[in-house]
Chain length 345, copies 4
Amino acid sequence: MMIVMKPDATREQTAAVIAKIEASGLAAHIIEGVEHTVIGAVGDGNGVNPEVFEVLEGVESARRISEPYKLASRQFNPKGSVFSFNGATVGGNEIIVIAGPCSVESKSQILETAHAVREAGATALRGGVFKPRTSPYSFQGLGEEGLEYMAEAREQTGLPIVSEIMSQVQLDLMVKYVDVLQVGARNMQNFNLLRAIGETSTTVLLKRGLSATVEELLMSAEYILAGGNKRIMLCERGIRTFETSTRNTTDINAIPVLKGLTHLPVLLDPSHSTGEADYVTPVARAAIAAGADGVIVEVHPDPAHARSDGKQSLKPEAFAQMVRQVKAIAEVLGRRVAPAPTARS
Amino acid sequence: MMIVMKPDATREQTAAVIAKIEASGLAAHIIEGVEHTVIGAVGDGNGVNPEVFEVLEGVESARRISEPYKLASRQFNPKGSVFSFNGATVGGNEIIVIAGPCSVESKSQILETAHAVREAGATALRGGVFKPRTSPYSFQGLGEEGLEYMAEAREQTGLPIVSEIMSQVQLDLMVKYVDVLQVGARNMQNFNLLRAIGETSTTVLLKRGLSATVEELLMSAEYILAGGNKRIMLCERGIRTFETSTRNTTDINAIPVLKGLTHLPVLLDPSHSTGEADYVTPVARAAIAAGADGVIVEVHPDPAHARSDGKQSLKPEAFAQMVRQVKAIAEVLGRRVAPAPTARS
Amino acid sequence: MMIVMKPDATREQTAAVIAKIEASGLAAHIIEGVEHTVIGAVGDGNGVNPEVFEVLEGVESARRISEPYKLASRQFNPKGSVFSFNGATVGGNEIIVIAGPCSVESKSQILETAHAVREAGATALRGGVFKPRTSPYSFQGLGEEGLEYMAEAREQTGLPIVSEIMSQVQLDLMVKYVDVLQVGARNMQNFNLLRAIGETSTTVLLKRGLSATVEELLMSAEYILAGGNKRIMLCERGIRTFETSTRNTTDINAIPVLKGLTHLPVLLDPSHSTGEADYVTPVARAAIAAGADGVIVEVHPDPAHARSDGKQSLKPEAFAQMVRQVKAIAEVLGRRVAPAPTARS
Amino acid sequence: MMIVMKPDATREQTAAVIAKIEASGLAAHIIEGVEHTVIGAVGDGNGVNPEVFEVLEGVESARRISEPYKLASRQFNPKGSVFSFNGATVGGNEIIVIAGPCSVESKSQILETAHAVREAGATALRGGVFKPRTSPYSFQGLGEEGLEYMAEAREQTGLPIVSEIMSQVQLDLMVKYVDVLQVGARNMQNFNLLRAIGETSTTVLLKRGLSATVEELLMSAEYILAGGNKRIMLCERGIRTFETSTRNTTDINAIPVLKGLTHLPVLLDPSHSTGEADYVTPVARAAIAAGADGVIVEVHPDPAHARSDGKQSLKPEAFAQMVRQVKAIAEVLGRRVAPAPTARS
């Protein structure tokens, strides 16, 4: 249920509403808007009638949200979420470009890449240290050593860092290092992990599962939101279909669909959604043209020798050209690519 | 096999190559390029060795085309096909916008729509008169009466007309009226129909089947090309996947994939690929951003009362806005939306 | 709408109902059951009220059929359709086994196969003479010559013959020769062809399209039924999914789903639904265990040298073993494999 | 790599091979067969040549396994794995039937169900206590309380118990109670969880992901096998496709495909693969007919009031009939449904 307070509602009135929500066995989530405070009342609350809240003082309106996701619904925040992490902003007019290698392979590799993508116009740096590999015999990532290299790259370039978490047991370690926790496609419905992340305040990049529907993606976001963490970017990264000419099928429809259904920022990952470097730039352009709030792209200084995903990684020069084109298309739509934060050192 | 003639090859030398091709049990297809004449030798020719042709006078090179499609391969025409129909041009720098109702419903409906889309910037007019309906009890189209109304609309607006053919037995009738024969998704592998169309010289808009791969689409184009008709536009119109939030899933990857594999122009139909008017404009923008050579869009003066596909039809005002945005994105990529031909009357 | 006549309704009363149906702009379809005559009233009849018919004399009940398919609905014939073609019976307790090569390649090949499959226990002979091939350069079938060989095989073995029709223009020729017209997956929504077949009285084997839903298959059957032809067998032949370890994915669920929704017999084609000879027998067993009314299987005396589909063809010995296992499973379910008709010569 | 020892190889010779494997940076896995001991050498061993092992004493042959999965390959154990857990046997001629409610809801519910399914012929009891629910607001299971009820049910009926693990942090608790750890579809690629389970000796039921290929399922099994746990049953539970008439599409092809590729037992879950009680029995029959080593079925004493999955749960009477039919089909194939262990109390 969604309860909209009157513009002049007092703190006491808001507190009374929250008390009533909790007394009904529901949890209260508060969004402070410019004009209105909105309170979400979520839980297994089919039996609770909105009228119970409408009669309280300071309440403008109360109504049920018909979608199965509540806090993720656009109704809850019609203007759309905008938030910053370590100097980078996403949402609203700002378009974000996250770039970097699939895996952190060595200190020199990640530092070289970080400087290159920063120069080309990236807003944040990605790099995996725990790798979900299909084979138990493949390279599984550098672990904490990789996180230290990422932190060093942030120190040198100012770029916030994004890295994938694979398990609840990695949470404390990851939160210590990263600016954005990436939840990969294979863990989109690892509900224990989502719930644990919901209790942190670290920004999340939640990727759509290979065969997850748009609604299921929003339900997974709801797990994190229900825990109190509202800093979520959603990411379309291609779905699995019968077509084999590309690694996955980019569901470009999902961009306007998600923008209509939720207030959360929506990114696209053209590297995974195509699986082929040649198609990354055209599909990155398409993402921005369709209304995405950003892209996340794999860039490697030497794709032919990458330890993972080399086939779909752009070289820095190609990435720089991609950024120029993405910027031009963003301008057509009245938006801009967010500048990177300034380096600390 | 593909045989490239030397720039200064004589007519006699070319004729000798063709004679040799035919003597090998293959068919010859000629493309006159600016510098070179290229001759395709197609058929069940696994046993024929390219060296047989390389020794002929005037031949620069001969080689097998490894893809199963031959005449459709980009190798065959690396600069890409450009052609015109009734004053409209597609391919190269020109982007085409085809618009109109799903079905021709009445004379006034199609005339009103034709004038509206022309004014908004469309290059050609679409309208179905034979409708492939899932139910035998649904409206099946106006038939020849509808074609007469389409012809009248062309007369008044100058817009070339595009309409769907459903069966070989409609071919003579359709060719008499239309500028572009549309082959719908359900008939993409109606090989008898494709072969019959290959023997005409009418331009074709060949739509991808709901579950056809990109390679199968090219093989269907090959059926038409093998008959001698080279005026083919391909059209991505959404594929069938598990996702149900949209009618189909727009395979935006197919745009750069097809542009790499074939010289034929590639369009996208965001009306069918999304099934929802709200998503048509974002996905049309994405198509052009991804490198498509045009879009085909359903426009209806009164979508709520359309006899078919009302849910996915744009009103003329929304279409006009879509054209403006598509034009701006085309310019970013150094292209332009082709102007409509001038009306004759 | 479905109008059930009383057991003692007179011819005149039935005629009056039909007259009323036609006066309402609908078409009447009559099914003479053991106890009741049932009349289907189909067309664009949303506005016609069942009460109009319930007041007529001799009418027991009248009600709308909620599914989009009407004549195909099991409601229309709850006991299930049973019919014979040239001595073979399908439906009820009888399980049918159709076998033969993908393509008729020569007189000796089809005669040898026909005798082999008859001896192994097949009920009918399949063999393609018009082949829907993805490539225009592949073997396209023997055409009428092949039909003559099929007829000769029928003459020698008594097996009814089944062959695929690809186009409306082949209809007269096909009807002259075959006992069963097969409509292939690629033509399942070739509505003009379906409508033309509906006007014949030849038995039809209607295959599900690669990405057609169960409901769409029933709608295509409805096109044939609406024309008056009630002799339709449906056939699951695998759908297209992301899985690539088999050519297609056998949708075994479709067997009980279809048996619940429609009165038409339901077959399965394990050759196409798996694409691999090793998997044909296990999946044929599964089909019968799931409740299918028969199977259609590719058998070739020399699969390694078949001109098409050799990989998925059984040798006669393997086919004979398959029939033995299918018979044993049929018996567990209280059914039997229908014996082949006796040869005429 | 797979190294087959001679029938008369000594312990010392085997030990020498293992030492050589480990010295090559690989891990050794031993399977003691009736005639031969087979040693798997796995890891990132592309550079190691089989000839290095073939020259050792006692070695009959050494060769690379071409599939990406090694220990899971049928080559490694051609006769197929057979193993028991708490008195129940799976593999070989034995077919297993696991049954019980989706969720443990109360002590009386699980005890009533356990007695009912035991009487109907089940071999093991299933029941979820940690539920992976799409919505954070849905019932999430009884947790350890539910495990205690399951243990009580085992005590009373003798049935081994099967329950789903959702997270690595539940592992110690689960291993204490259950006979079989179920890994659900959503966790099939939760590689950290798989690796942790590989270090236990508890039997595992590994379910295929909604959009996982057969090869990916085997790669996930390889993660567990590589840790040393060989007691794995694989389970097809339906894949996600475009068809919406059932909850999922049962990939019946996967049964013979998996039986050919791996030595691990293969089960099918017709409750999830169809999503509808009416289709469970036909598809369970099909599974056994196709060669599955067992089925896992949802049974609830009162499906209409189940807290989850009621729509797809069989009542005990319907389940008893299913078992009778499954037994009859098993006998046709020369197999039998394994009897349940005897109760301890």
